[in-house]
Symmetry: C3
Subunit: 263 residues, 3 copies
């Protein structure tokens, strides 16, 4: 069994090309997060080229934060490419509880068996058919509220479900892990969750998705702890966070990672 | 009569969900500005869901900086939802003097009675039917040049007009206030005006728009003064600005705010 | 023959309005880079207004990083306006080797005779009809590999070709210059190349494009050296970089610039 640090080293050695169809708000930060971590990001969404680009990529992320009907079709095309190729893809159902359009699009994407679904508690509950208490794109529910929903949803997708929160919950429907790395300032900065999707996808290349997802969460959260200790607010957090993602060694991560089996 | 600091506290207590249809350049910074201030931002523009999302929101901002015909329709739909619900919406006519498309779209949006129109002097003059001296998206006119135009325009919309500049001018067509907070570096960083729209919208929720707008301008400008004093250039300004928005207390704001009646 | 510093002063005196049709990832950073340098940026892409806006602008940049068929048409329209007006426009063929769509669009744009084509070695080789070793949007080839391709491509466009890398190569097909300013961290941050296009365009206004491009590269790279020395990673690099672009004087640039004729 590899440590989180060994997984970080493996990801950096592979330096995977990660194709992202994400929202307009996240694109720049997500690309910088992936570069700082050691992966190679690309943001490609046009239907004219999305399937061709997906075929070149080691992993894909799909995020519906600013989707449209047209972009939804691109998301489905790219996801199908990854599904057929047996390569990992990560789905983030941003604000799925807010509109019928998001629910219908998410439903179609779930049918394409995402390797990992990552969302906040309210989003995961909505996907599982439960009534969440989301407000816009923010969670109104606790991670504990969503654990059962996450296991159910894993039964549907056959993949991993990751519920983000102060302590993250990651499950394949049978086994589950808790990751308690992170910092409260991460909740006061936009697209922290969106950008995380890319890191999860990069860690999942050629690896078991449950452990790889937990390692990605630990790495991301540990970098957040370092940045949070150095920052004087949400503005100074972001530069410090990218620096921490970039500087973190495998040994640093193994010393900081807080991952344990959920009972 | 509430102080600016009391209005800041009230906004934070409400933590309003602010729906933004803004330009691609502004989306990330604007979301971070709203989060740092204490509001809950969402960027949603697709016609498939824009009216449904607006109905969930306490306030709306509309910005034509990178609009298209399709996005223009979304802007009108969302604005109509807010108008009917009696909730505040803020309109920013970015670069309206530059193209016929922007002028026609702005004209349709003005007919939907924005609670607040915020722009630079040239933009406000163009909306009032005067020939401004804009250059691209930058003002070529002084705030003083635009005061009469602002009062006229308020007569048309029935709302508040805010002219941004070294000293801002805010009017409902009869009464007017001047806000002299701010820092010159704010003019050397993109989307500072765009991001301000969200803060104005958040302050206007459940409040009188003239005073709420002035308080938002004072808060934003006061944070700019703190950041400007700490920064060594436009790059270090932005992290310091977000930190200052986040750290500012009601007492800090009351000590710094420079709002006075225009005679 | 002007020095790089004199060219920087000339650009700042002109403060050109630079119209950019660039990718979603780059828009915000590129606008801030142009403002920090002393130019006036605008991001305008909608077909409804793109030709009208181009006609107001002193220079144009076109970047296919997140293009679509529709945006491609806007790019061609705007480029035609600049071509007819004899004003500079810069083309960045991001990831051209990755998809057929990018190749076809790039081919049409090359026919409109860009003043400057700037890309990494793999992109320039692909445009010249050679098989590059690109991976996603990253170069897999060295600048030296691409020098012959750059000269060939200059023969086709009649303009300047700039190959970005640790040492940049700039040629009009006959003469060539090498610029060795820069810092390794610039490769670990997204849209550094995209944002550079705007600076090149601004320097080219009313100037000979070969020398103006080299001066822009030297200015950008010299600011990167200052930022790289101050930064502790890619996150702290970006604020320091914008500060350095803003603070650099003509004398600073003349002391730092490393431009020499290629033999």
């Amino acid at each position: 069994m590899q440590t989180c640090g060994e997984r970080l080293t493996g990801m950096r050695d592979r330096a995977p090309l990660v194709h992202n169809i994400t929202n307009f708000v996240a694109m720049n930060v997500m690309a910088n997060v992936l570069l700082a971590a050691g992966a190679s990001p690309a943001m490609v969404h046009a239907r004219e080229e999305v399937a061709e680009f997906a075929a070149l990529s080691q992993a894909l992320t799909v995020n519906i934060g600013t989707a449209s009907t047209e972009w939804g079709l691109s998301m489905e095309e790219a996801a199908r490419v990854m599904q057929k190729a047996g390569r990992p893809w990560v789905f983030d159902p941003v604000g799925v509880g807010a509109t019928k359009f998001r629910q219908a699009l998410s439903d179609r994407l779930l049918d394409l068996h995402p390797t990992v679904v990552r969302g906040n508690a309210s989003e995961i509950m909505t996907l599982a058919g439960l009534e969440g208490r989301a407000r816009g794109v923010d969670a109104g529910d606790s991670v504990a509220d969503a654990e059962q929903a996450a296991r159910q949803l894993a039964g549907r997708t056959g993949g991993i479900i990751a519920v983000s929160g102060p302590v993250d919950y990651v499950t394949d429907g049978k086994r589950a892990l808790r990751v308690s790395n992170g910092h409260p300032l991460m909740g006061r900065i936009t697209v922290m969750g969106c950008s995380l999707n890319g890191v999860i996808a990069a860690f999942c290349v050629d690896e078991s998705a449950l452990e790889a997802t937990a390692a990605a969460l630990a790495y991301y959260g540990a970098a957040g702890e370092i940045a949070g200790a150095a920052a004087t607010g949400p503005g100074s957090f972001m530069p410090a966070f990218l620096d921490a993602l970039h500087a973190m060694t495998a040994a640093d991560l193994d010393a900081a990672a807080s991952v344990e089996a959920a009972t």
